[in-house]
């Protein structure tokens, strides 16, 4: 009988999660050297390019210890971004232990803490691993101190490792097998399996990744999803090596997959419990919740006749990403499109990039918005995530916006700058906590709207990369909101409107006007850009007309070169929309979001 351990690696971004996963996989000889590539679990192009993990991946590592005991070590790789924190929490719920990775040169950062708290919530065994000890700037003693003071873990239990060079890997295997308990659970009890992820396969439909707590599941069983009672007949079960490996059954304690003719991933809910229809578990596993989008933006095709093709692309995309929601939307400036909800800004960017790259769509996205609440004079409460539906100001009794609690970890010398940043972003209720000498944990209540754009970039830059940040959404609070409209040559471009706090409206208007001035290419006439609230202009800028662009002669009949140049520009124009008589490139819509002044 094989021994099972279920574990995950958690870390602040870039501390070496993917690299360590690579080493563990290589150690088990699961992949032969020739097929191996770095960051092997990051299979999507976009993951590999950006160096981030978006989708969870699971892999069962076969391992034999010195006593000849055979193990099946299930590594559940989790996404490394707050946008996906619910997915992470479900992955953690499927484990008995985690490797908590800390970069020896960076030390503990905000997501190290956030991840630690999440792991503690699930009572997991935590194995601290100090990574990158090969770096000349590694400061192991300091990191041990932080592990002690900030994480409250025993620094002597930390394993020293260089994922890059492969040092400490055996110690890690020993700790996984020795310190993490085997999964409990009774294969004879009614089935109760936690869905922690789902992938779409064009041939097989939805592949559900799950952790069995009790019971057994086999092909032919009728399973039931406990959140909504739908039932499916199991076609196949198995475990993940690098590819799927079919098994006769999955039993309590195991991590694996179930294929059961589920059409799209949207038919499953991460965190839901699978049980047997004939012999159901008495109650679902705890912790299930519906993930709700927090950031909203409209997507329009650049050419309005591509609406249908965009719809089809969204439908296909959605097969594999249940967290994206969309509905029809239309704008006077941009025509027919879709209002979409995302888990966060990274999720939004991922959707945008994948629609463009994998589905070949040319799209314009509007400024992301959070969900606001308006209490009207007649007592109605409406929720608005689209500036188009901003109610008549005369009928608004009160408005509210979502707030977060942000935790920022910085070296002491940056506290002043961080406080200023947070206050500029309407932060309130600050607290300072000094876990280790020289380091400060700053907590703040901030409007979600203020952090979704470039807060993190800003934080990184004012702390020279030493600041890290994590947040959770807390509540709605009253707020004085207005709609800022943008006019181009006197015509309102509805797709550029944003909802914003009154105190911030002028600043935002000035920045947006300046940004648009840079982004909108000069045309043969002057273009006036204005920001307005109601009818009142509060900011303006001008794009001067271009004067000249005739370039070199067509030499010796080489027309091709010139034409190709134009063809390239013409393609660039595919990313522009005519608004009135002004061509506005897609980048202008995104640039309008940045709050930076430089």
């Amino acid at each position: 009988m094989k021994h099972i351990r279920n574990f995950s690696i958690i870390a602040h971004i870039d501390h070496g999660k993917s690299t360590l996963a690579d080493r563990l996989i290589q150690y088990t000889n699961l992949v032969d050297e020739r097929q191996f590539r770095d960051q092997i679990l990051d299979t999507m192009d976009i993951e590999r390019e950006r160096g981030i993990t978006i989708k969870s991946q699971t892999i069962d590592l076969p391992y034999m210890d010195n006593d000849g005991r055979e193990f099946e070590l299930n590594l559940i790789d989790t996404p490394g971004h707050v946008d996906f924190s619910y997915e992470v929490s479900r992955a953690l719920a499927s484990c008995e232990g985690v490797l908590l990775l800390v970069d020896a040169s960076q030390g503990v950062e905000a997501q190290t803490l956030a991840n630690l708290y999440a792991a503690m919530e699930h009572d997991l065994v935590i194995i601290p691993v100090i990574n990158k000890i090969d770096l000349p700037v590694a400061d192991i003693e300091r990191v041990k101190l932080e592990i002690d003071h900030e994480l409250g873990l025993d620094p002597d239990s930390a394993i020293l490792c260089s994922a890059k060079e492969g040092t400490g890997i055996e110690d890690i295997f020993a700790a996984i097998t020795g310190r993490i308990p085997p999964p409990a659970g009774d294969p004879e009890k009614p089935l109760s399996a936690l869905i922690f992820d789902a992938h779409y396969d064009p041939f097989r439909g939805t592949i559900v990744s799950c952790r069995l707590f009790d019971g057994t599941v086999r092909p032919g069983d009728m399973i039931r999803l406990m959140s909504n009672g739908t039932t499916y007949k199991v076609e196949e079960v198995g475990i993940f090596h690098l590819a799927r490996e079919q098994r006769k059954e999955l039993t309590a304690g195991m991590v694996g997959y179930i294929i059961a003719g589920i059409k799209t991933v949207s038919d499953t809910r991460i965190g839901d419990t699978i049980t047997l229809d004939a012999n159901p578990a008495p109650a679902p596993l705890p912790g299930f919740k519906e993930v709700k989008p927090v950031v909203f933006s409209s997507i329009y095709p650049i050419a309005s006749d591509d609406y249908q093709s965009l719809l089809e692309a969204l439908e296909k995309y959605k097969l594999n990403d249940a967290s994206l929601i969309y509905q029809k939307d239309s704008s006077a400036a941009l025509g027919q499109g879709f209002r979409c909800g995302f888990l966060g800004l990274l999720h939004l960017e991922i959707v945008q990039e994948r629609l463009e790259r994998e589905f070949d769509q040319s799209i314009i996205m509007t400024a992301p918005s959070v969900q606001y609440r308006f209490i009207l004079t007649d007592g109605d409460v409406i929720v608005v995530d689209n500036p188009l539906y901003y109610p008549d100001p005369a009928k608004i009794k009160a408005s509210e916006e979502p707030f977060i609690r942000a935790a920022i970890l910085v070296p002491e010398r940056y506290v002043g700058a961080v406080m200023k940043l947070c206050m500029d972003r309407r932060g309130v209720n600050s607290h300072l906590n000094y876990p280790t000498p020289g380091r400060v944990e700053v907590t703040f209540d901030l409007p979600l709207a203020e952090i979704i754009f470039d807060f993190y970039d800003k934080l990184k830059s004012i702390t020279q990369g030493y600041g890290s940040f994590d947040y959770e959404i807390t509540d709605y609070r009253e707020s004085d909101l207005v709609r800022l409209d943008i006019l181009v040559n006197g015509e309102k471009v509805d797709a550029l409107s944003i909802l914003v706090h009154r105190d911030r409206a002028r600043d935002r208007a000035v920045t947006i006007c300046e940004r648009l001035k840079e982004e909108i290419p000069r045309q043969q006439f002057k273009i006036a850009i204005q920001g307005a609230i109601g009818g009142k202009i509060i900011a303006r800028s001008t794009v001067s007309a271009f004067r000249k662009d005739v370039t070199a002669k067509c030499y010796g009949g080489d027309i091709t070169r010139k034409r190709k140049l134009l063809e390239k520009q013409k393609k660039g124009k595919r990313r522009m929309r005519m608004v009135g008589n002004v061509e506005i490139p897609q980048s202008a819509f995104m640039a309008a979001l940045k709050t930076d002044n430089e």
Partner: protein, 384 residues
């Protein structure tokens, strides 16, 4: 003169004595390859002589620096062309010459060989500017060369000039123009200095050691040049080209702009016929080798889609005073609206069913075509 249906012939002479720091045309400074190049031209002409039966009515010997060829070399070139192709009676035969290379006997030879048009690369008459451009000749040498041209039989000569570089003043440029006009040229080409990547000047720009003229300076030079030359009776018939009368338009270059067929011989030369374009490899060695192996020295070719044809018609048409046929523009939805806007803002004018650029239109000639393109599938939206 210019017959749109008859093809033009171009021969590329890829040799220069020295390489100018702004130049990104293909040319080499090793004259030892001239013989092999001539052999190559001979072979290439043989390939095409059956396919290009109708007579050419223009011949343009360009480069590089064609005047680098001595009487023997040029004589052989002309023999090759005459033996392989037929030419219409009044064929315009142009050669590009460097002032340094002009001698009385050379001019006599040109005449004897049937060359009837000279394009003289003067560039500037300011010594400092010529040094900056690293040209071989001085202003005095240019004046002397022109003197020789005037006392020869050539009446149809044109002068190439450059302007719009940093440090040049309106005064120095006007002085150059005035002195050139006093020679009585039939044709002027005034090119703005282009600082292309990959040239020494281009590198200096990216290193910050050479400044570009500002767009506003370039614009002012362009407008000034046009006004000045028009005041002196020249027709601004193409973005960079001026002629004393219609009869002095460069018939050969008109073929490029009017999409007439042309055959280019020599390394890097371009050809066009029946909506197909092809071009030769740029390296002299490869060119010669391919021909020795009995192959066409073609490096690339393309057949134009209807969309590309349309883009070319606009791209080329808007570079010339003749402009574009109205029917080629308004065949697309919304282009009428665009046209109305461009007319009212003084970018183009409409006359006799042709849309031609104004001076302000010339300034943005490279952008004009796209204005009639972007909108095919995108709509002008009128709000509220």
């Amino acid at each position: 003169m210019n017959n749109k249906d008859l093809p033009g012939l171009y021969v590329h002479v890829p040799f220069c004595k020295t390489k100018c720091p702004y130049c990104d045309f293909y040319s080499i400074t090793d004259p030892s390859l001239i013989q092999s190049w001539l052999d190559g031209i001979e072979k290439e002409a043989l390939i095409y002589n059956r396919e290009w039966l109708p007579a050419f009515d223009t011949l343009y010997i360009g480069g590089g620096t064609p005047s680098i060829l001595d009487e023997y070399g040029l004589g052989r070139l002309m023999d090759i062309l005459r033996n392989s192709f037929s030419f219409a009676p009044d064929t315009e035969v142009t050669i590009e010459v460097n002032p340094d290379d002009i001698t009385a006997s050379r001019l006599a030879c040109y005449e004897a060989l049937g060359i009837n048009r000279l394009s003289i690369g003067v560039q500037s008459l300011q010594e400092a500017e010529l040094r900056f451009l690293q040209r071989r000749h001085t202003a005095i040498a240019a004046e002397r060369a022109i003197g020789l041209v005037q006392s020869s039989g050539f009446r149809n000569f044109g002068v190439d000039l450059m302007y719009g570089f940093h440090g040049q003043t309106r005064k120095s440029w006007t002085d150059t123009l005035e002195r050139v006009l006093s020679w009585g040229p039939a044709h002027l080409s005034c090119y703005q200095l282009t600082l292309s990547d990959g040239t020494p000047f281009g590198r200096m720009v990216s290193e910050g050691t050479l400044k570009r003229a500002t767009e506003e300076q370039e614009r002012q030079f362009f407008i000034h040049t046009s006004h000045f030359l028009q005041d002196h009776g020249f027709i601004h018939y193409e973005v960079s080209n001026f002629a004393k009368g219609e009869e002095y338009f460069s018939c050969h270059n008109l073929k490029y702009w009017q999409r007439a067929p042309y055959l280019g011989l020599g390394p890097g030369a371009h050809s066009f016929r029946d909506n197909a374009r092809w071009w030769n490899c740029r390296s002299v060695r490869d060119y010669c080798r391919l021909l020795l192996e009995g192959k066409r020295p073609v490096a690339g070719q393309e057949r134009l889609s209807p969309e590309q044809v349309r883009l070319e018609m606009l791209l080329l048409g808007f570079r010339t005073a003749r402009g574009v046929d109205m029917d080629d523009i308004v065949d697309q939805p919304f282009n009428g609206e665009v046209l109305a806007r461009l007319t009212s803002s003084g970018i183009v004018r409409v006359e006799e069913n042709r849309v031609s650029p104004t001076l302000n239109g010339y300034l943005i000639a490279d952008r004009l075509p796209l204005m009639f393109f972007s909108l095919i599938s995108f709509f002008i939206k009128v709000f509220y």
